[in-house]
Amino acid sequence: MRTLEYVRVGEPAQAVAELAADPAAAFLAGGTTQLDLMKIGTVTARRLVDITRLPLRDVTFDGGDLRVGALVTMERLAREPVVAQRLPVLRDALLAGASVQLRNAATIGGNLLQRTRCPYFRDVATACNKRDPGAGCAALEGVHRNHAILGTSPHCIATHPSDLAVALVALDAVVRLLGPDGPRTVPLTGFYLPPDDTPRLETVLRHGDLVTGVDIPLPAQGTRSGYLKVRDRASYDFALASAAVVADPGRTRVALGGVATVPWRARRAEAVLREAPEAFVAAAGAELADAEPRRDNGYKVELARRTLIRALSTWAAP
């Protein structure tokens, strides 16, 4: 029997200390991905530190930033009036993810740390550099219809699965952390690490770091924003391609999902739009210019391009 220790903590500092003391420990929040991955052997934590009693469930608005506790559930955040009124891109992205049942359990912090749906990552009988560094990447020549075309490396082409994170990188959200050395903040655009030659490292988090919340700067009044997601079935499915657009007056921010190894801030598209605010086709073309498709995911280049153009036409057109 695989035995497992379970502890419940009441204070964030206690949670950090529990983890810092044990390299084989992991936090447990909603558990909607983590417990599945433990059952199939992909994640092998021996000690779970339950953080669901921590006081990280508040959503507050101080006039500038929306401050979201890490344990706020996806469904709860989507139902916040300020989110519906001022952050349609966030609301759309939340409601495009998972199912109501999962959204009622899954937390914002957990969603940011969601693991890829790459089937080789999840199947311990196959080769995966992310799960087992140096083992190789079976997806390169294997089943990869829904793998990434941006931010890939010869060692990993796994797609980042989150919808929420795509909206949040477009919104310039900031992650609040508490680590063994105290609290700090990291902009979400700098939070995720592309695979390069260390696919196992997915974020800048160090062991023991606890995500305590996300701060979302509210766009100016009148900003239009939205999230467009294309998928194989109408609901409860990961994106084949998605686009988040935040069209502040004078500036359009863009991110792509479903096509990249990390939630993909589309800087090149934004640069084109800064010069020519309605050059949607050129912006999308520029963002996808260096896409690296493989045998069965070449369609994503065109799909992502069109998804971005549609999203820009919908929310960024004058």
Binding site: M1, D123, T126, V143, R145
Partner: protein, 691 residues
């Protein structure tokens, strides 16, 4: 004596077992518990071809709670049970070191709890000598069996007629490997008492599980009892006695305790069959006014190396179109894939996808309305033997379905209808479904308190057999429905055929009708008061030389929306008109058609079992990655029944278990062509094909 079939037969009675199911009181196989029950977990191959060169079981044997670990080195020698109407029994498990597919059982661990068994199974270490697997039908190393089950047919001169036809269609269609995925993971609980074996099993055919196990263990059938009063769905996966059933019984014998083996979802993908992938070339020849002169249909599909089921993709009688020249050829190709099996409308769903799409291609080429083309070619007699059908509701299906759908309101040219930026398409397909009936027995008992019991070994896999037999017996015995009790799913009860092939309802209702008639005969002749009165009855397929028994007919109409930029396809409306003979219960029958339609939608839009191209290992063996439709994918499904009782049997039932599935994928694909001008010949119809 004549009892009328009214008021209950034909009424929309609620499921009689519904409350028990909702309350969790209906015992499914995985609910069965014995005081000393042990639990089994499987160790499966992680290669597709080769042999086991070493298997280390010491770690597992020493793990907490473990009773035994059985491998091919230690397993009792087993035989293969007798073949049935659907083909040979599966290869007995754990009988050698050869590995023929990824997922093949290599060992079973039995322990005091399920968790202990699962944990210990992880500790079994297997070493392999790996061979290069044969994974594609075009691989020159693959063994091809032409006409494997002797269904190939040639009538007239199809080659000559194709050569001289005024108009021709020649297209190749492909369909993917699909997995049945009933909601209830298959479970077997086996218990030996000396040489008597009792098995609780997720089966659609208790009699088959019994004869299979009796054959495997070399014991008389009478010593095997199979129980399946409730089964969590099957969709054809439960028609065979798969290797895990044998493993459970073997494990119970070895440890001398009852053993439960519940398959995991990933194990369902390799252990209970599925719909094989197909490649089909279809050639049609026609006159310019749309009279078919030739149909040539060639289908190739995989079968496992050492286990194949009786299968047919090319539809019988060229799909029942009045065509003087036709040829149908099936080729089975042996690959290192998990055993294929039967998935709702096996073969027919794949074959009719190709045929009904090719007919749409022909209609477009001829500039003839697709419904009119089919009406011009309706087979008034069975094309295989020239006999008149017992009933022919097909024209009525087209008429009623088209009218309800508003078919003739469409603008015929492709790409000519829009809803905002989305393209709109209408498509349709016709279905002539095969007729099946197998011998069946049933018993009717009248109790002194005035209530009655109907009993037969048939299973109700969620289709409503409990309910329709209650309705039927209540009418025949003139009792209120809650005075009738129906007992099913037990081989000690009179022998019934499979809940499969759309054939159970015809078989079992005629047998119950016969039993009730015999019972009333006894009652009328007088019988001692205060005792049970029991009578048996039987039904058998009528042997008629003068008519062709007709199965169900249907016409399916679909409306789709396609986003021309993003390639997103949504089905927004479906109408199915069905001639199913006598409809015992319109609510349950419509549910069957709706359920079949959703299965057809999955086949059309998203379902696909995906192997790793190099290793053959299935990479989406879970319900997160193997997509089936969710509510948001399913539009309103409008079901209409036409026709009436079929005169072939006293009950006039044809069976509607599968007819709802088969027309959906071609109707949707044809609607996509109408919407976009794109002819998609490969399922599923996913985004990358529509950009």
């Amino acid at each position: 004596m004549t009892r009328t079939l009214a008021p209950l037969v034909g009424a929309a009675l609620d499921r009689v077992d519904g409350a028990r199911k909702v309350a969790g009181a209906a015992p499914y196989p995985n609910d069965v518990r014995y005081p000393d029950l042990a639990y089994a977990a499987l160790v499966r191959a992680t290669i597709s071809a080769g042999r086991v060169s070493g298997i280390e079981t010491e770690g597992a044997e020493g793990a907490p709670g473990v009773l035994t670990v059985i491998t091919h080195l230690t397993a009792p020698r087993l035989s293969r049970g007798p073949a049935t109407s659907i083909g040979p029994q599966p290869t007995p498990p754990l009988q050698g070191d050869r590995v023929d597919y990824d997922g093949q059982y290599l060992a079973v661990v039995v322990a005091g709890t399920r968790e202990q068994a699962v944990a210990a199974a992880d500790l079994v270490e297997v070493r392999y000598e790996v061979d290069e697997p044969v994974l594609r039908t075009e691989d020159p190393r693959a063994e091809r069996e032409e006409n494997p089950w002797h269904f190939d047919t040639t009538r007239g001169d199809p080659a000559g007629a194709l050569r001289t036809a005024e108009v021709r269609v020649d297209s190749t269609y492909t369909t993917p490997h699909l997995t049945n995925n009933p909601l209830g993971p298959f479970t077997t609980v086996a218990r030996w008492d000396g040489d008597d074996l009792t098995v609780h099993d997720s089966t659609q055919h208790t009699a088959n599980t019994r004869s299979a196990l009796a054959g495997v263990f070399g014991i008389p059938e009478e010593r095997v009892r199979v129980l399946a009063p409730f089964v969590g769905g099957g969709f054809g996966a439960g028609l065979r006695s798969w290797p895990h059933v044998t493993v459970a019984a073997m494990a119970a014998r070895v440890v001398g305790r009852p053993v439960a083996l519940e398959l995991t979802r990933p194990e369902m993908f390799t252990g209970t069959g599925g719909r094989p992938s197909t490649v089909q070339r279809i050639r049609l020849g026609s006159t310019v006014d749309g009279r078919l002169v030739a149909i040539d249909h060639h289908a190739e599909y995989p079968a496992a190396m050492d286990d194949a089921v009786r299968y047919r993709v090319t539809p019988r009688g060229a799909g029942a179109y009045a065509c003087p020249n036709f040829a149908a050829r099936d080729v089975q190709v042996r690959l290192n894939v998990p055993p294929t099996g039967h998935m709702r409308a096996p073969g027919t769903a794949e074959g009719l996808f190709a045929l009904e799409c090719a007919l749409d291609e022909l209609a477009f080429r001829l500039d003839i309305d697709p419904v009119d083309l089919r009406l011009r070619n309706v087979a008034e007699v069975d094309p295989e033997n020239g006999r008149p059908w017992t009933t022919t509701g097909l024209r009525e299906c087209y008429r009623v379905g088209a009218e309800r759908f508003g078919w003739y309101g469409r603008s015929p040219a492709p790409c000519s209808m829009r809803d905002g930026h989305r393209m709109v398409g209408y498509g349709m397909a016709g279905v002539t479904f095969g007729w099946t009936m197998m011998p069946c027995r049933a018993a009717a008992t009248l109790h002194p308190d005035g209530t009655a019991t109907i009993a037969t070994s048939a299973t109700d896999i969620g289709t409503g057999t409990y309910t329709i037999l209650t309705q039927l017996a209540a009418d025949l015995l003139d009792l209120p429905p809650d005075w009738v009790r129906v007992e099913l799913g037990d081989t000690r009860l009179p022998k019934a055929p499979a809940a499969g092939g759309s054939g159970l309802t015809a078989a079992v209702t005629n047998a119950v009708q016969d039993a009730c008639r015999n019972l009333l005969e006894i009652v009328r002749n007088g019988h001692p008061r205060g005792t049970d009165v029991r009578a048996e009855g039987a039904s058998a397929p009528p042997e008629r030389e003068d008519v062709a028994p007709s199965g169900a007919f249907a016409a399916v109409f679909a409306e789709v929306r396609v986003d021309p930029d993003l390639g997103e396809l949504r089905v927004v409306r479906l109408v199915t008109a069905v001639d199913g003979g006598r409809i015992m219960n319109p609510k349950l029958a419509a549910s069957q058609i709706i359920g079949g339609t959703v299965g057809g939608l999955g086949m059309a839009l998203m379902e696909r079992t995906t192997p790793d191209p190099g290793s053959g290992r299935i990479m989406n063996a879970n319900l997160g990655d193997y997509l089936v439709p969710v509510h948001a994918d399913v539009p309103d499904v409008d079901v209409l029944f036409v026709g009436g009782p079929d005169p072939l049997t006293p009950m006039g039932v044809k069976g509607v278990g599968e007819v709802g599935v088969v027309g959906v994928a071609p109707a949707v694909a044809n609607a996509v062509h109408h919407a976009t001008g794109r002819r998609l010949r490969a399922l599923p119809l996913t985004v990358e094909n529509l950009l």
